[in-house]
Subunit: 313 residues, 2 copies
């Protein structure tokens, strides 16, 4: 048992990242049942939908799970009320200041983990009283930091700066990658893309197929003038890149992006006009599998790498 | 002994990257003497200067060293003649096709290592007959790949695609980072930034001081419309970013860059107008030390991390 598995009361230090249009109660339940911690991603839900998902996961017999709340999302405050009322055991907060709700959540017995992309915000989050941190690197899918610090650099930097447990995220889709970030000092991992392409993910089949066929260089961190997002290259993404290369303003990018792009791509399966958020590790994923099998594979790869290890020095 | 230490006839699988204006014979000699492999970086030299450096390192009693030749550099062909005549034991080639000179070098008993930033070019390089590869990720300093694949993702992707030894590069400045990339399957590491800031580096003191004071987010991959380069943010870099954000053409960026920017910054110490090439790992470097001490520290950190390791699963 390490400080993270103890804190989150899990068998394996593997967290399934809360992802828009992918991680409803079905995915979260499967991950929690497989020994990790599943997160319901509230970022693409309306309040009544979040309540429904929390109730469904409980009805399914899963008591240990979390909800990811992007703090800049318009429903953030309502979501905080919901997780308090529903007594959700763990809340992951992202995209915003951890100062606002951490005390309230913790006073109500909820463990709080905050997602950061820099050591600077890691320190601020620890000061705000969060229980653990996700250190998310440049290679991660979806919304991402402006500093572009990669997981390899970020995890060690953050680990040096704070004393609470650190969960590495970004670029992790294999047992070897888990072993690598553990070597950097991570107390556990948060995995997104691999679970986004799992059988239990609520993403459309076309999205999952596109993810497993992705090769290196098929994702890009775009929309940096708004909030940087890593996505698969498709017609929509090409338009963004073209306009960005031509020096598009923030306003014209907001207009190009419009509303509901991620829903259109990930959930509705529009591979042309949708925003297909995914990480660089998509290039390491080659099939759509059930969560249980995914977890077994990760552990097997990890153990094989460890058994074959021969020290350099 | 692993396949890489055997191939390169070195005690430790640690290669010092060939870096413009940093890695002359003094740095390369120190790294080879400390048990790694030092490379003379020919990319900032004229032919007569390269000859001088090769002769000086030999006079210094170092027989095992390499020369890094950027294949797109105007003197590349002359450099190939020089390494053949001078019987340099190892040549690292980068920035160009490995097809052109690999056979010639190998027929003359020279071991050839090629630097790549994608699995696609790793496969082509293996086909061209190179003996080993450097897999260089997005976080590396200086010239970099267009795919922006990070070291964490790249090393495993490349390792899966080929059978020759793989040297991980980009983001490695600590013993823990060495352990991390080894976990991904790397047979060794190439370290740049940390040695660029060493006592034996030929970079100016102002450059070294700037490197050790760099924090996260202080470097950026810029000039993507020309050839992407990671550099420290300074007034020159800010001008580049401003113009890129405004949609600058390739031509206007070529004009802004001008000639001799890297020399001005790294070698002459002009922190305002120079191009200060360095990797993200600069944020992990806090002092200017002699190579021998650097190597001892790396091994100590690596061993400590290994000794304190407790498997997740």
């Amino acid at each position: 048992m390490n400080p993270l598995t103890k804190l989150l009361n899990i068998k394996y230090p593997v967290i399934q990242g809360g992802m828009v249009w992918c991680s409803g109660w079905r995915l979260a339940a499967a991950v929690s049942k497989a020994g990790g911690l599943g997160l319901i991603g509230a970022g693409s839900m309306r309040p009544e939908v979040l309540i429904e998902h929390i109730r469904r996961i409980k009805e399914n017999g899963v008591t240990n799970f979390g909800v990811n709340i992007p703090l800049l999302y318009s429903y953030a405050e309502e979501f905080i009320d919901i997780v308090l009322k529903e007594k959700v055991p763990v809340v992951f907060t992202s995209a915003g200041s951890p100062k606002k709700f951490t005390s309230l959540l913790k006073e109500n017995g909820i463990r709080v983990v905050h997602v950061v992309s820099s050591a600077k915000f890691a320190v601020k989050s620890e000061e705000a009283g969060v229980d653990a941190l996700v250190a998310e690197g440049f290679e991660a899918g979806g919304h991402n930091g402006k500093e572009e610090t990669t997981t390899l650099t970020l995890v060690e930097l953050i680990k040096k700066s704070i004393n609470i447990p650190v969960i590495a995220a970004g670029g992790i889709a294999t047992g070897r990658a888990i072993l690598a970030v553990q070597s950097l000092g991570a107390d556990g991992v948060q995995i997104g893309s691999l679970f986004a392409a799992s059988e239990e993910s609520s993403a459309s089949d076309s999205f999952k197929e596109k993810v497993i066929s992705a090769r290196e260089g098929d994702t890009i961190l775009a929309l940096k003038k708004l909030a940087p997002v890593r996505m698969l290259k498709n017609e929509f993404c090409n338009k963004v890149m073209e306009q960005e290369n031509a020096g598009a303003t923030k306003e014209s990018l907001v207009e190009l992006l419009g509303k509901g792009r991620a829903r259109k791509g990930i959930f509705e399966g529009n591979m042309v006009d949708g925003e297909l958020e995914i990480g660089q590790s998509a290039s390491m994923i080659s099939s759509i599998q059930p969560v249980k099998k995914i977890m077994q594979n990760l552990i097997k790869e990890y153990e094989e790498a460890l058994n074959n290890f021969e020290a350099y020095f």
